[in-house]
């Protein structure tokens, strides 16, 4: 059997995360990801996945890029890079958005928070340096771009995340910040915990309710230990992060999204705000809006895979003798106990219920286009009673 090198994460070129020592103490298996030594698993991917769906999982996502955009006209400038309506983004609200190339291809997906004083961006770890270069090359006078390299990012995800965080004594950093108990899904602000400044958004990448918490790197371990002290919380590795996001139908940059793919093809048209659909003015708007109104040739879809054998990224998708697409993510869904996949397929084969075949090791497996998320999301949105 081929076994991945057990010493991979001891590579001298790999950077370490602020929580590296804690991960190793907790028995993590470390792997190389986005240039960092990162925990792939602790107790096992299935156990960690199911724990997060039932309780609360703590993820170290400090490899991701945290950026601050500040200055007069920052919202307008962001609108020249991404198709969101940042001028209308209210203070303390968070939006999912897409950094677009001039041809409308997706350079990255990101979260944008209006802090009231500036815009706080979270971008992918593997793309952050490219994103920063892209943005810096387009930075106008009067606007600053700051890479928060001294801050770690933790995610607490799962139905018990709210219960756990409610036990923390969190004081609004200033009078204009909301009380923590009032924080709704896709909202964020800054609080003080034991004198430590935390930037918290109610968001995540698992399909569960939860938080992403920005914390100065020197305090990351104290915060992680404080979270793990609650019996509801266990550390979760990258393996379960991937299976959780796949079940939630959330695309992974570099796999399901890339510079060759537009927001419409990626089925992320919701990230093009209503005003921007009318006004355009974002990179590649002409092409993207043409696809939006007239259709694109291919589309990202979810596939239910028949049987037990997982189909992986790169597997081809067929209707009879015609190849109609390719898998961009695929694996086993622990909460559903079946294999699932994401694929780009020709639009004519993209309707829910379309019967397709996936080729795996020379064999054809039946698959059906299904709506995503595969697993119903458990977000607690504004107005929900939960």
């Amino acid at each position: 059997m081929t076994v991945a090198g057990g010493r991979m994460a001891d590579d001298a070129d790999l950077k370490t995360l602020p929580l590296d020592a804690l991960h190793r103490r907790l028995g993590a298996r470390m792997v190389s990801f986005a240039g960092y030594a990162m925990p792939i698993q602790f107790d096992g991917i299935i156990a960690e996945h199911l724990w997060t769906r039932e309780h609360a999982g703590l993820f170290d996502v400090s490899h991701m890029g945290q950026l601050l955009v500040e200055g007069e006209g920052a919202a307008e400038w962001l609108e020249s890079l991404a198709p969101g309506d940042f001028k209308a983004l209210q203070p303390h609200r968070v939006r999912y958005s897409l950094l677009l190339a001039d041809n409308g291809g997706i350079l990255d997906d990101l979260m944008v928070t209006n802090t009231g004083r500036n815009f706080y961006l979270v971008v992918n770890g593997a793309t952050k340096h490219g994103d920063i270069a892209h943005m810096a090359a387009r930075l106008p006078a009067g606007i600053t771009l700051h890479h928060m390299e001294d801050d770690a990012l933790l995610a607490l995800q799962g139905p018990q995340a709210v219960t756990v965080m409610s036990r923390f004594d969190l004081t609004p950093e200033s009078a204009d910040q909301p009380a923590f108990a009032d924080l709704k899904f896709m909202a964020g602000a800054r609080w003080l915990w034991n004198g430590i400044k935390l930037g918290i958004t109610r968001s995540g990448y698992t399909g569960e309710d939860g938080y992403e918490i920005s914390v100065p790197a020197e305090h990351a371990e104290a915060l992680a230990e404080a979270l793990l002290a609650h019996t509801e919380v266990k550390p979760i590795g990258l393996g379960a992060r991937d299976s959780l996001r796949l079940e939630a139908g959330l695309p992974l940059y570099g796999h399901d999204l890339d510079p060759e793919t537009t927001p419409v093809e990626a089925d992320l048209s919701f990230a093009i705000s209503k005003r921007r659909k009318t006004e355009g003015g974002f990179p590649g708007a002409e092409r993207v809006l043409d696809q939006l109104f007239n259709g694109a040739a291919r589309k990202r879809v979810g596939l239910a895979v028949e049987g037990r054998m997982p189909a992986r990224e790169g597997a081809t998708v067929w209707v009879g003798a015609e190849q109609v697409g390719v898998l961009t993510s695929g694996g086993f869904a622990p909460s559903l106990n079946v294999p699932i996949a994401m694929a780009y397929v020709a639009t004519g084969c993209a309707a829910d219920g379309a019967a397709l075949e996936i080729e795996v090791r020379g064999k054809r497996i039946a698959a059906t286009v299904v709506p995503m998320p595969f697993k119903q999301k458990n977000y607690v949105r504004e107005g929900d009673k939960k």
């Binding site: 081929t2 076994v3 698993q41 299935i46 037990r308 090791r361």
Partner: protein, 123 residues
């Protein structure tokens, strides 16, 4: 009957001209949760070091190689219903397939348990 091991973390039990093949406890630990095993059909000829099966964990597919050349006589039917046997009993109920050896001299290059344990300790 003696158990021999490969550097690719397969084990093989040989009794006469028949052998049973699986992956080691070390290998299953490296793989993590096994969710599917793609096993060879009876009658398939396999060659030493060639692909014989595929074991799928949550995160990846890994090839399993034939420790020796031969013809597959049976694959483990229990793995279809419960692939996690590879995790819970890799060197017992989680066996992969049986084969008839075509060249018993191919066993000569394989490791005994002490040699394999030393090999794993060196990784």
């Amino acid at each position: 009957m003696s158990r021999l091991y490969t550097q690719d973390h397969e084990w093989i039990d040989v009794a006469g001209g028949e052998a049973t093949v699986g992956i080691t406890d070390y290998a299953q630990g490296q793989l993590g949760d096994v969710v599917f095993v793609d096993l060879p059909d009876a009658g398939r000829a396999v060659t030493k070091g060639g692909e014989a099966a595929v074991v799928e964990s949550v995160k990846a597919a890994s090839d399993v190689y034939a420790p020796v050349s031969g013809t597959v006589t049976e694959s483990n039917p229990a793995l279809a219903d419960d692939p996690s046997l590879v995790n819970s009993a890799p060197e017992a109920d989680g066996w992969f397939f049986k084969l008839t050896l075509s060249d018993a001299s191919e066993l000569d290059g394989l490791m005994d348990k002490a040699a394999y344990d030393a090999f794993v300790a060196s990784l």
